[in-house]
């Protein structure tokens, strides 16, 4: 990706100190700047936006809420990033969320029993087994997507479209079209529990993020995945097992979606096969794009995707906090996508360069 260098920036870079150059050309500059602008708007217009208080040893405040609500999206965006790096796309994320959430909720369930005369709920299946089963279903979904893309060589959008349509149907088949309610208290810890004063979901996201980062930065895997995205044929000729790599990214993406499904069902204490994670795939793609990952593959930023997810959630929260009707949210999102995509395109930069020259 040889983006034409803006002469104005290059000129400034010659005279500026090296760390400033580094900062100006850092890929995270624009997403972080966008997030800061949003937070600035909040700081000016929403009273008490940065208020943090400690109640019962837990940290409360709008910022914590945003982080907690963004957790499923951040997970989905992490998985989506690796898929998009290989020039793929996974639009079955929402369906996988519904499937894994449904499986977990049905297995955990919760039956009331009397213990020493006190009613208590026990899980139908031991929770670790239920969680493992839910993630197992998610992994199977990923394997299915990966085999369709790498084995049968379907276009990624079509391959994942199949699961997107059928997955929700399967989830509804499992629940018989009903919403499954969970009564087993320990399960709620995943999505709404606190650990050392912070929501537990944040630790989960952080763990997945760090693990992914280590995996792609400290091993050759990141380089391999990038190579597949830049030129699949060349990567294969260079001896990479491209098919295995592609299956891996789809399995990884589905695993992230499965985790997100656990967080969502645990947070709302029920699994709704029809609505859980609806349109999550689109928000995840949006987060990845906002974070500076190229949809043409090959160039990516995991941290950028996390920032992108935070931008989306902050935008939503801001719109609610400002008292603007929530319906405006979609229009704003659309305009943001248009602006980001157009400003990322080479044609736009050329236009800008010509004008600047």
């Amino acid at each position: 990706m040889n983006a034409p260098v803006n002469p104005a920036v290059a000129d400034a870079a010659l005279h500026a100190s090296p760390w400033r150059t580094l900062l100006l050309q850092h890929p995270l500059l624009r997403p972080v700047a966008a997030l800061l602008v949003l937070l600035l708007v909040d700081a000016l217009l929403v009273p008490g936006f940065f208020r943090l208080e400690i109640k019962d040893g837990h940290l409360y405040g709008p910022l914590v809420d945003i982080l907690n609500r963004a957790a499923p999206l951040m997970l989905a965006a992490l998985g989506m990033t690796l898929v998009i790096v290989t020039r793929g796309i996974d639009i079955s994320v929402g369906a996988v969320v519904a499937l894994s959430g449904t499986v977990a909720a049905m297995l955990v369930g919760g039956t009331m029993v009397m213990q020493n005369g006190v009613p208590a709920y026990v899980a139908n299946t031991p929770m670790p087994a239920a969680l493992a089963a839910a993630l197992g279903v998610a992994l199977l979904c990923g394997l299915w997507n990966g085999v369709l893309v790498a084995g049968i060589r379907l276009q990624p959008i079509v391959a994942t479209l199949i699961l997107m349509v059928a997955g929700r149907g399967l989830a509804q088949l499992l629940t018989d079209g009903q919403i499954v309610t969970v009564y087993y208290t320990p399960y709620f810890f995943l999505g709404s529990g606190y650990l050392f004063g912070l929501p537990f979901s944040l630790y989960l996201v952080a763990a997945v993020f760090v693990a992914t980062l280590l995996l792609v930065k400290k091993t050759a895997l990141g380089l391999f995945i990038q190579a597949v995205g830049i030129n699949p044929v060349a990567a294969r000729l260079a001896g990479l097992r491209t098919a295995t790599l592609i299956v891996f990214v789809y399995v990884f993406c589905s695993a992230c979606a499965g985790l997100a499904g656990l967080l969502i069902t645990s947070n709302i204490k029920s699994a709704d096969a029809n609505n859980a994670g609806l349109l999550l795939e689109l928000d995840a793609i949006l987060a990845v794009t906002l974070g500076g990952t190229s949809l043409l593959g090959g160039r990516f930023s995991l941290a950028g995707s996390m920032v992108g997810a935070l931008i989306i959630q902050t935008l939503t929260s801001t719109i609610y906090a400002l008292g603007v009707p929530p319906e405006v949210n979609m229009v704003v999102k659309a305009v943001v996508v248009f602006i980001v995509c157009i400003s990322q395109s080479g044609e736009f930069r050329q236009l800008f360069t010509k004008r600047a020259a």
Binding site: R153, L161, G169, L170, V328, M330, A334, I342, E347, F348
Partner: protein, 325 residues
């Protein structure tokens, strides 16, 4: 033996083979369904299939052009919803003449699609992401007009919605008739005009098309404008059908349209297939729903599972054939 094998290979390599598979599938479904539930074979069931899916036929025709050109349009469901909303609002609050309202909505749809096409072409962006943003925009605009559903009680719309045109022992709605006319016009446009040939050329290989001197930009913008126009017309038909405008109309419709086009035998990589396949694709989807409704024991989610399974089978068949060609 080898002659038969050769003949079979020649048959499966013929461009109309997948389309024929769909038609055979449709006939088989109706046949098996008819054997199980004799009521299914009454002509009115077939006409109802058309009446209930008229808007989907029109939307799938537009989607067919986009997919033939090698693109994809995810905004059609939202544009359909926006059209019902604008129609209802123009009639209800602005008291426009129905003809003027319909004309305005159609132009709006074409402009919306054309604008997306222009952005895709000028900035070399992926159709997927641009039409995704278009989807958000159109849905958002719906809610800006009204969050609630707006009822249409304009006399002309009510009259059209209740009109029954008698045909061969049954009746069809004006909407179904319009859908068939649109399909005919689209077939003519695709196979007998320069625009249609340009669409196939761009979908087959954009660079070759450009080198042949075809105006790729104009073709692409035209294709998305056509898809927007079809989605808007689908919206008008939907407004006839439902007599309301609502921001939640047509949710997931884009996927139904894509599925119909694929099942109708059009390759998603572009440049290969028939516009008429949109009709057989839509009818197969409709027949699945009718069969599930006739069975009575199967729940509605089986529709999704069966459609997913069919998509899978058709994609794999297309791939296997593509490998042989």
């Amino acid at each position: 033996m080898s002659a038969i094998a050769h003949g079979a290979r020649g048959l499966s390599a013929a461009p109309w083979f997948t389309s024929m598979v769909t038609v055979v599938l449709l006939a088989a479904m109706v046949g098996i369904g008819g054997a199980a539930y004799p009521g299914l074979l009454s002509p009115q069931v077939g006409f109802n299939l058309l009446i209930d899916n008229a808007y989907l036929v029109v939307v799938a025709v537009g989607m067919g052009f986009v997919i033939l050109s090698g693109g994809i349009d995810l905004s059609v469901g939202a544009v359909l919803a926006l059209s019902t909303m604008v129609t209802a609002w123009l009639l209800h609050s602005a008291h426009w003449h129905p003809a003027a309202a319909i004309l305005a909505v159609l132009m709006l749809g074409a402009l919306f699609g054309g604008a997306m096409g222009a952005i895709i072409h000028l900035f070399k962006l992926q159709p997927f992401i641009v039409t995704l943003a278009g989807m958000f925009l159109a849905r958002g605009l719906c809610y800006l007009i009204s969050i609630e559903s707006i009822t249409i009680d304009q006399p002309f719309f009510v009259a059209v919605s209740q009109a029954q045109i008698p045909v061969a022992g049954g009746f069809v709605s004006p909407g179904a008739l319009i859908a068939l006319l649109v399909l005919l016009a689209a077939v003519w446009l695709a196979h007998f005009t320069a625009f249609g040939r340009a669409v196939y050329a761009v979908g087959g290989n954009e660079q070759s098309a450009a080198m042949m001197g075809l105006d790729v930009g104009r073709t692409r913008i035209g294709v998305y404008a056509l898809s927007g126009l079809c989605a808007a017309l689908g919206g008008v038909l939907f407004a006839f059908y439902m007599l309301s405008g609502y921001g939640l109309h047509g949710q997931g419709l884009e996927l139904d349209a894509i599925a119909a086009v694929v099942i109708g035998g059009t390759l998603l990589s572009g440049g290969y297939g028939y516009i008429a396949g949109a009709l057989s694709g839509v009818l197969v989807l409709g027949a699945i729903q009718t069969l599930i409704a006739f069975d009575g024991n199967l729940s509605s989610w089986w529709t999704k599972i069966v459609i997913g399974g069919l998509l899978f089978v058709f994609c794999v068949v297309q791939k296997l054939m593509g490998g042989r060609r």
